[in-house]
């Protein structure tokens, strides 16, 4: 196994883990599979485009604002669309999230353009570096470092702060958490904000791969997050991270081993593998201890 393969897999896995984690933060508490999650990534991408092209904002500020923009979008969708249907049926919430996704995509189509737009990124981002004898874009190394920092930060937050404890409790037993005096709306809003922050960070690296953004850019990360969380286990944050790395590994292995004529079927192969896997282990790799409780 070459060093290049290891670094590629680690960086891809880190990115996928962050995608999955953002999705599962909301799922854990609301039991909502948020189809609009990909659009938070897209909004951050357009944020970078607008700031980078039309304003003299320095690149680091652009990135911070883009991440905040994703978090804000996530929070607003929760406030406007999800909160009113939260107590209704689970399907109502799912369809709502899909409608929000279509709405945001087409709003960008309407306001900006259906065509891809170039996003200016600092040149260093895509410069090559040589590490342990492996030459790789700096972006890949940054992805790994960012993921490590974020995962460590979130672990600290979830383990050692009251807010974190309350969020874990809410994912376990929502109603009982409210009986402790924890505000339901607050916990859910925080979950959406964290989900949005992660989407924003993912956006920087995802957009960084192609240096462009289009209205459908969120679709692929959404799918990756779906599959990674299902594979890792929907009921634990750890499961999402593990699922992300496993998906990254699987993706890279398939890219190498599939014959050239079959590479276009790679996504289909991935999904078939995952569906087969779920046949034998429907709860995913990591079995969460949370009960399936509806929030109402």
């Amino acid at each position: 196994m070459s060093g290049e393969f290891v670094i590629n897999t680690l960086s891809l896995g880190s990115l996928y883990a962050l995608m999955a984690l953002g999705l599962v933060f909301v799922y854990g508490i609301l039991k909502l599979v948020n189809f609009a999650y990909g659009e938070y990534i897209m909004v951050a991408g357009y944020g970078m485009y607008v700031l980078g092209i039309y304003t003299p904002t320095p690149w680091w500020a652009t990135m911070i604002i883009a991440v905040l923009l994703a978090a804000l979008t996530s929070y607003l969708t929760e406030l406007v669309a999800f909160r009113p249907v939260r107590t209704k049926s689970l399907n109502a919430m799912l369809v709502t999230s899909f409608a929000v996704s279509v709405l945001l995509q087409n709003a960008v189509l309407l306001i900006v353009s259906p065509r891809a737009r170039a996003v200016p990124l600092p040149a260093a981002f895509n410069a090559s570096v040589t590490l342990f004898g492996v030459t790789t874009p700096l972006r890949n190394i940054l992805t790994i470092i960012t993921a490590v920092v974020l995962l460590a930060g979130l672990t600290l937050l979830m383990k050692y702060t009251v807010l974190g404890i309350a969020m874990r409790a809410a994912a376990d037993k929502f109603t009982t958490t409210r009986l402790m005096g924890v505000q339901a709306n607050m916990v859910i809003s925080v979950a959406f904000i964290i989900s949005g922050l992660l989407a924003g960070v993912v956006s920087i690296f995802w957009v960084g791969r192609s240096s462009s953004v289009d209205p459908l850019i969120g679709a692929a990360p959404l799918l990756i997050a779906f599959i990674a969380t299902v594979m890792g286990g929907m009921n634990s944050l750890m499961g999402a991270v593990v699922g992300g790395f496993v998906y990254g590994l699987l993706f890279n292995v398939l890219s190498i081993t599939l014959p050239a004529s079959m590479v276009n079927y790679r996504d289909a192969f991935m999904f078939v593998i995952v569906i087969l896997f779920l046949l034998f282990r429907p709860e995913g790799i990591i079995r969460g201890s949370y009960t399936e409780e509806r929030v109402g």
Binding site: D172, T176, G181, A184
Partner: protein
């Protein structure tokens, strides 16, 4: 302190409470008895805001708490030990207790409260860093009560605290409830184990299919129990354990 008037509640098309009224005065231990499906838990859930009642009124300390959110009701001083204990299984014992003090956290007071809880429930101190899910049923019940006490409630509501516990554990729990009453904590206790509940209660209500069937002191209830046993089956002489 707590006044419930003509409370009606339903689950969809099924009416669970047909206008019940009850009262809990400061410092009292009131038992709410009845068979399965009589509406005991529904009453508690309506009071603590988990369930939205259809009609009636609930007043606590002179303030209406009808249709308030559970989190606001807790802040007013009503703490609930839910049926089935509802421990956060993936959280440690310490984290469970910390959440109990969510609304009134203050470092020095919190440490003091913890010490007090450990005095009441020594087992919790031993298990402090274990996940709640690994505790036995009795330990979980102790944790649930301790967690509810951490918010310094004016009114503590207990929903079937003896359910599914071993006989010795049931003894411990009732001993504890008596102790809490002696400390002056107002308690509303829901139980199926009527005899044990009546031993510690100041007053009792008997619920049957969503109506209040009886209210009075345990002594009065004891007197009328023959009538009650007609309703609930089983006679007083046959078994010492009266199951309502």
């Amino acid at each position: 302190m707590l006044t419930v008037t003509e409370l009606q509640a339903s689950y969809g098309a099924i009416t669970a409470l047909h206008g019940i009224s009850l009262e809990v005065n400061e410092g009292e231990l009131v038992a709410l008895l009845g068979t399965n499906g009589a509406g005991k838990s529904t009453t508690l859930k309506s009071i603590c805001g988990v369930l939205r009642p259809v009609q009636g009124s609930i007043e606590f300390a002179g303030e209406s708490i009808m249709n308030k959110k559970p989190e606001s009701i807790l802040k007013l001083g009503i703490s609930m030990v839910p049926e089935g204990r509802e421990i956060f299984t993936s959280l440690t014992v310490a984290e469970n207790l910390r959440l109990g003090a969510y609304t009134c956290y203050e470092r020095s007071r919190y440490q003091q409260d913890l010490k007090e809880m450990f005095a009441l429930f020594p087992i919790l101190e031993e298990r402090l860093s274990q996940p709640g899910g690994l505790l036995s049923g009795g330990e979980q019940q102790q944790l649930a009560i301790a967690r509810a006490l951490m918010s310094h409630p004016k009114l503590l509501m207990l929903d079937e605290p003896s359910l599914g516990l071993s006989p010795t554990m049931v003894d411990n729990i009732f001993e504890l409830i008596g102790m809490l009453r002696d400390r002056g904590i107002t308690i509303l206790l829901v139980e199926q184990n009527a005899e044990r509940a009546l031993k510690v209660a100041d007053r009792a209500y008997v619920l049957k299919t969503g109506h209040i069937e009886f209210s009075g002191t345990p002594a009065q209830l004891e007197k009328e129990l023959d009538i009650a046993s007609v309703y609930f089956g089983g006679s007083k002489d046959k078994s010492s354990e009266v199951t309502l």
